[in-house]
């Protein structure tokens, strides 16, 4: 199947314009990152100069985990609204009367959700690193946070976890008839990849570049599979009429 990048671009532009003028989306995208900053900052500032290297590593692991919750939760706000929101405001049917393919629509919505999520995740990581360098009492914190595997994992995992969250939430949105229910379910369903990150962060698995790359590849495969699955779940007829399409 040939994807039309013009269609995807048109959807992305529309989504970004729409978000920018939505107080609730702008408010959520502003407040959530601030909330995600509080706990990692406290963890870093609590570490005394005498804290052992092992304890520092553990704390940095938890900081890293907390930072990766942001790209899982932040795009969920947008993604859960993506299809059910269009249905609620009556804009889905006109959209589906155009030559836009369902895969293009969903990809456009996913791109519009993932870009701010990744941007915010990287900004949070950079901000925590700056806090660690300036305010941390334990000198080992900043280098531990800036270690190769952590940086690589942040770069790789933030978009991949966001991707997982977005596809799961769009899938829920495509099957829901109520925005609030979709948002509640979406938030819960976007968390599973963090379980693996938690195991790495708390040294159940030893963090290494190989492990980060393997986990990233697994997540990437899952993201692509989810895009296909969610696209297949996107039933024009059911979304427009409420009745499942029965092929003759």
């Amino acid at each position: 199947m040939r994807m039309n990048t013009g269609h995807i671009g048109a959807v992305v532009r529309k989504e970004v314009r729409d978000y920018r003028r939505s107080r609730s989306v702008v408010g959520t995208m502003t407040v959530l990152p601030l909330i995600f900053l509080v706990e990692p900052t406290l963890v870093i500032l609590r570490l005394s100069p005498s804290t052992s290297a092992g304890a520092v590593q553990k704390s940095v692991g938890s900081v890293f985990l907390l930072l990766l919750i942001a790209p899982a939760i932040i795009p969920a706000v947008i993604a859960t609204y993506s299809v059910v929101g269009e249905r609620e405001q009556g804009t889905l049917e006109p959209l589906l009367t155009t030559p836009l393919r369902r895969e293009e629509l969903l990809l456009g919505k996913a791109v519009a959700a993932i870009v701010p999520a990744i941007g915010i995740a990287y900004l949070l990581f950079a901000f925590i690193e700056v806090i660690a360098r300036i305010f941390a009492r334990n000198a080992a914190v900043a280098p531990a946070l800036w270690a190769g595997p952590h940086v690589l994992a942040e770069i790789l995992f933030a978009p991949l976890i966001a991707g997982w969250s977005i596809w799961v939430c769009i899938g829920i949105s495509a099957r829901s008839s109520d925005v609030r229910v979709a948002q509640q379910l979406g938030t819960l369903a976007s968390l599973p990849p963090l379980a693996v990150v938690a195991l790495i962060s708390f040294d159940v698995f030893t963090p290494s570049v190989t492990l980060a790359v393997v986990f990233a590849l697994v997540l990437l495969t899952a993201d692509v599979a989810l895009w296909r699955i969610v696209s297949a779940m996107f039933d024009r007829e059911r979304l427009i009429t409420g009745a499942k399409a029965l092929r003759p």
Binding site: R13, D18, L95, T97, I240
Partner: protein
């Protein structure tokens, strides 16, 4: 679209082009519920085709089926020259446009931003002039930078029409375009559709406003789950109502049977008991002079001889009433 065909396209011109829509025994069922059944008709290119029926008759589902939004249960159709199949959905949607009953605009976006989205989805390159033309066609240029949320319902319908014009569609489906509009706004929409008609745009107009269909459409179809009738409104009147003359005299005739039965052009007659007589005739144009002469010869003082007018509403109600399963309109 706007620039395609200037001026009104003659009936002969239209009939020489391939049909814009061919629908053949099309049926759509949702589980055990039948939305419409065994529907067949053809729409000529450049025609404004009215699709009438009561609420729940299946009009919107027909539009959605022809617009590839829902799959037919059985039957076939050719839309804008392309067979209606699941594989052809994208190609069909590229060549048609549908304006749903609710125009479904992004209220936080401006009029132009809404149109830019759809121009992008129709793959229009250098879409600025096309958007300007569409806005001009619906007299909305002055409101182009306004947020759609700030527009009245009538203006939103106009934005929906502008959006439907963007891709220069081979067939434009307008689903209840004046639903919920006040008379002034409805009239504006009528004028816009009339403009489309004069430019030769093929329009498939669903409505339950009969005066709207009568005023705008070349032909109408009346649907009530099954198709009740298709044709020009005058053809439908002729097929449904026997031709007749209404004769009114100053006083009741002494021997009406002697007057009317002896007039060859009159097939039958009846009286309502006063000085008004309803005559069934084959051709009112030849019968009226003959009846006038017979009445004058009989010494009657004639007040009027006229052909009763059957509105599209009469046609519609007769057809809907004939259907025992018809839901109330």
């Amino acid at each position: 679209m706007v620039e395609r065909v200037p001026g009104h396209r003659a009936e002969a011109d239209r009939s020489s082009e391939p049909p814009a829509l061919v629908v053949d025994h099309l049926t759509k069922r949702f589980g055990g519920r039948t939305a419409f059944e065994d529907v067949s008709f053809t729409v000529t290119s450049g025609e404004v085709f009215g699709f009438l029926g009561p609420n729940g008759a299946g009009k919107t589902t027909t539009v959605r089926t022809l617009g590839t939004l829902v799959a037919p249960t059985s039957g076939s159709a050719v839309v804008a020259g392309i067979p209606l199949t699941a594989d052809n959905g994208t190609e069909i949607r590229q060549r048609i446009s549908i304006m749903p009953e609710n125009p479904g605009l992004y209220v936080r976006l401006t009029v132009v931003e809404n149109l830019e989205l759809f121009a992008g989805l129709y793959g229009l390159r250098n879409h600025g002039p096309r958007i300007d033309q569409a806005l001009e066609a619906v007299n909305l240029t002055a409101r182009a930078r306004d947020a759609c949320g700030s527009l009245s319902k009538g203006l939103r319908q106009r934005v929906g029409l502008a959006r439907a014009l963007l891709n220069d569609p081979a067939v434009m489906f307008l689903d209840e375009p004046t639903s919920g509009l006040d008379p002034v706004a409805a009239r504006e929409v009528h004028d816009l559709i009339n403009g489309l008609r004069q430019r030769g745009v093929t329009v498939f107009l669903t409505t339950h406003r009969l005066e709207e269909a009568e005023r705008l459409c070349h032909r109408v179809a009346i649907l009530n789950t099954t198709l009740r009738s298709v044709g020009r409104t005058d053809e439908l009147r002729q097929s449904l109502f026997r031709r007749s003359l209404v004769v009114e005299t100053v006083a009741p005739l002494d021997a009406p049977d002697g007057v009317f039965s002896r007039t060859a052009a009159v097939e039958s007659w009846r009286s309502d008991g006063t000085a008004t007589y309803m005559l069934t005739v084959a051709d009112p144009r030849t019968a009226a002079p003959a009846v006038t002469r017979a009445l004058v010869a009989a010494g009657a003082d004639v007040l009027s001889i006229s052909e009763p007018h059957h509105s599209l509403e009469d046609v519609y109600l007769k057809l809907i009433d004939e259907d025992p399963e018809a839901p109330p309109a």
